[in-house]
Symmetry: C2
Subunit: 265 residues, 2 copies
């Protein structure tokens, strides 16, 4: 079995398919993360999914046996919130998203409006209540000059039965009718998320490993940011997908405990 | 004023922005069409809009003073219906569209279903009742192997207040979540619609003029089919748009009566 050769000061873990699947920790996850922490490494957790808050993720990890404070969770709704706070604090937003995202933005001082002529930013996100009325408001607002941004660009969110259309569907609908491309997508693999992770860890990229199950988001973002990258085969990436991809991580791990060199475990 | 140099055996007229705007005939339309008919030319009418039936369009033209039989109207829902009848008669369809389209397909013997595993074709169209539930069915059906086609690919339908997101929004949403491109779009500028027009006229392309207000649909399709093309400036195309476009029609008309050479009028 191949192991990562040394212990790094910082680790970024994707969640779904990397640390857990549904309500179950994946093999090796608990031991790897607790061992890294015991050795003094800093661990942060990353999700593109804007349907839950950072507090929800922190609570879930804690419940599964990995006690984690809220500030070590980075998700796309939080990154969007931070980006907007620096770009246009208090701006008028029209958000195609679900209540956790809406609440988070409202609590951060943004004004949510459905009046197209007052909207400064249209935010496209994962929204299981997306409908034509929302599409019309987004269309009218963008035609009236609003900027068009998104939390994430995942095509679908895998489920036991298949998947749920994710933010890429909302982006595609708006791009389709306006003829304009989304300006900023903050979620991984965006450098905006990479910077948020590095800021949280307080470490240079070369001191950090990103661990995830998706080559085109986790691994690509890590490579572009200059981190060490480790793909784990417990999620969507199979050896066949890996062999066919132009994105090749520094390490390929069967399970997360391969993050611990035998000498350190 | 520039006139078309001669009378042709066949004429194809776009409707909105060419023959009428809302409930009003455009200047010269009545005289031009009635004169062409009196001279023995055959006139057919074309719309990409799948929200009304051919009977609705025939009734509207007749009400406005241009008596027109249903069989001289070609719209994208009818072309889709014809295409599907030759490709897969009686097939199981899931249609994202409004009732006139659904009724037309049902009357033609197609089975409409929302059971994703039974769908053979997902049909994307202009649908002001589009929502996440429909998107989910389309996603599931296409992932299970259904083919993905569309009536038209217009971005939006112009209205006095701005516009309504058209079929391109539905196509974009489905492409966004599935990662697959729509396979066939039958509406203009597709050669499928051009062929339907020529079949209806029963004439070779060189004997026909297509008259419309949109360079990228009406004029482009006519050029690709080998028809003579005439852009009329009563709709979306302005002299500035025309000057900037790579698509240049054979004739540019201020009004439809410029279709009649002075010697013939």
């Amino acid at each position: 079995m191949i192991h990562v050769s040394r212990i790094f000061p910082g680790y970024v873990f994707d969640l779904d398919g990397t640390v857990y699947l549904g309500e179950n920790l994946l093999p090796g996850a608990l031991r790897a993360i607790m061992t890294l922490r015991a050795l003094g490494s800093h661990t942060v957790f990353l999700s593109n999914k804007p349907l839950e808050t950072r507090a929800d993720y922190a609570e879930k990890l804690t419940r599964l046996g990995i006690p984690t404070p809220v500030h070590d969770i980075i998700n796309s709704s939080w990154v969007l919130n931070q980006w907007l706070q620096s770009e246009a604090p208090g701006a008028n937003l029209f958000v195609i998203g679900e209540s956790p995202l809406l609440n988070e933005l409202q609590e951060a001082g943004f004004q949510l409006t459905e009046r197209a002529d007052q909207v400064e930013f249209v935010v496209a996100s994962f929204d299981r209540t997306f409908d034509y009325r929302k599409l019309q408001i987004a269309f009218d607002a963008i035609r009236a000059g609003a900027r068009f941004i998104a939390t994430n660009s995942d095509r679908y969110c895998p489920t036991p039965d298949g998947g749920l259309p994710d933010a890429a569907a909302v982006i595609g609908a708006i791009e389709g009718c306006t003829g304009l491309l989304v300006e900023v997508v903050v979620g991984k693999p965006s450098p905006i998320t990479a910077q948020a992770l590095l800021d949280r860890l307080g470490l240079p990229a070369e001191d950090c490993v990103i661990v995830g199950d998706r080559l085109e988001t986790d691994i690509r973002m890590g490579q572009e940011a200059g981190m060490t990258t480790a793909a784990v085969l417990t999620g969507v990436t199979t050896p066949d997908i890996l062999a066919a991809s132009s994105i090749q991580p520094d390490y390929v791990l069967e399970h997360l405990d391969a993050l611990i060199p035998p000498s350190a475990g």
